[in-house]
Amino acid sequence: MNKKLRLKFLALGLPAAAGFAAFYILPFIRSVGYAFLSGGLKKRFAGLENFKAVAENEYFRLALKNTALFSLIGVAAVMSLALLLSFGLMKLSERLLWIKSAFIMPYVLPTASVILIWRAVFDSDGYFYLTRLEAWGGFFDVLPLYLLFIWKNVGIDIILLTAAMSKVPKEVYEAAAIDGASPKTVGLKITLPLISPTLLFVGVLSFLNSLKIFKESYLFFGSNYPPDSAYMLQNYMNNHFYKLNYQNLSAAAVMFTAFVGLAIFFAYIFSERSGER
């Protein structure tokens, strides 16, 4: 491509790049800076003070614990269901593929509308009694959120998984059939290892989506203050936005970003390792 044309394309691409830098990159760097400054009018370098304050805050700890638990259980549940449904969908005949769309549809629907049904189902005296069961540690308070998360996100996982499954060469399955492998063995020993990179990506994507549960939580509980067991990181951050406590917010955001980055990094390292064996 000649130089003039290249310059034209660079110029056309500039608005998007400039906006991205202005709203995401540059202020992110500044927010990292905030995390190391002391609060109040006179700014001074505070070292790790803000981080310590956040880490010692009991609500941050509660939020972190709840978020980690929600992500762990939510991702495991949505991925298991997506895998089972994908195996099922792969075996269906072509003209029944509209069923797949039923699983994908929830992904695009507005949460506020859907919440009306969730409230109608879970807003009963019987269910209220369940949430008071101490032995379950507030599990029933969070259960509606788990169901919303799974309902909404299983579709995108299914799309990615079935796309990967249909790329497995037919010959591999034919060879397995000749060797007399049972469907269960084929699934576990052939399909799963062959789609493992996609599986990992789906895991990461589901994890990131599980962090977005705030919208559902806010609309379901009707406020920023859900029951203790459903108090997540974003509730914590929202409350601090209302207090305009930037130092604390920045420190929380930096810690959280680092945590997520590390989690994804280790997931990839782990998959590289297990791929070599």
Partner: protein, 251 residues
């Protein structure tokens, strides 16, 4: 026999997933215990400020979708087809930010909006999403599939960058772009967090998603159904290209 069992099982699961939508539709068509359109009649004739927020949502979704796609197309093309120094590193930053959880990008967005004095204005609810990396990422994914020869050939015909985009590149990826538009529309139709934080002191400009819960009980289902309708229709119309383009989420 086994196959029929599987078919039956999958069909019933599919129906089960559809149940929330169906029950909202049914609830919206009842009043008291009988079937009627009273809810809709009330929603459309009595002023609940419903449509004020409905049009807020429509405006944000329309502006975000069109603006983000128009500005993302050339940048996606740059990343997909033009070699320039630092391209790889730059695209990596895009992916990294795209993967960042909301909790991490909200604060940078907020800082910029505050400095520009845009908080509590409609700009606060649109600008960050217009520049969100998602559209650039997906357009780039689509454009890698456009054959190089086609672009080379187009260059012989014209030296206009816009013409190359319009005549050589876009026709190749039209279904994918329409699917992307639907995805962005539905996402911006559903904003909640941005409104609560970027427009803390000005509930007048809230989108319907935050205000729907304030609708009186006896018209709530109709309000929810009308709000869901555009997203549902877009999904049904663009089902096929949507499903194909969601496959390109894969990094």
């Amino acid at each position: 026999m086994k196959k029929r069992l599987l078919t039956a099982l999958m069909t019933s699961l599919g129906v089960f997933f559809f149940l929330p939508v169906a029950s909202l539709a049914i609830k919206s068509l009842t009043f008291g215990k009988s079937l009627s359109l009273v809810q809709y009649w009330e929603l459309f004739t009595v002023d609940h400020a419903y449509f004020k927020y409905f049009w807020n949502s429509a405006l944000y979704a329309f502006v975000i979708t069109s603006a983000s796609i128009i500005i993302s197309l050339p940048l996606g093309f740059l990343f997909a087809k033009i070699k320039f120094r630092g391209a790889k590193a730059l695209f990596f930053i895009y992916i990294a930010v795209m993967l960042l959880p909301f909790q991490a990008t909200l604060l940078p967005n907020y800082i910029r909006l505050r400095d520009l004095g845009f908080l509590n204005t409609p700009l606060a609810l649109t600008l960050p999403m217009i520049f969100s990396p998602f559209a650039v990422f997906l357009t780039r994914q689509f454009m890698t599939s456009v054959p190089d020869e086609l672009i080379d050939y187009a260059q012989l015909e014209t030296s206009s960058a816009l013409k190359i985009m319009r005549c050589a590149v876009l026709p190749q990826i039209k279904p994918a772009i329409s699917a992307l538009a639907v995805l962005i529309f539905c996402e911006s139709w559903n904003i909640v967090e941005q409104a609560l934080i970027f427009s803390m002191d000005n509930p007048e400009i809230y989108p319907l998603s935050v205000k729907l819960a304030e609708l009186p009980e006896d018209v709530a289902s109709a309000g929810g159904a009308v709000y869901m309708f555009p997203a549902l229709m877009l999904f049904l119309i663009f089902r096929k290209p949507l499903e194909t383009s969601m496959e390109s989420y894969k990094l």
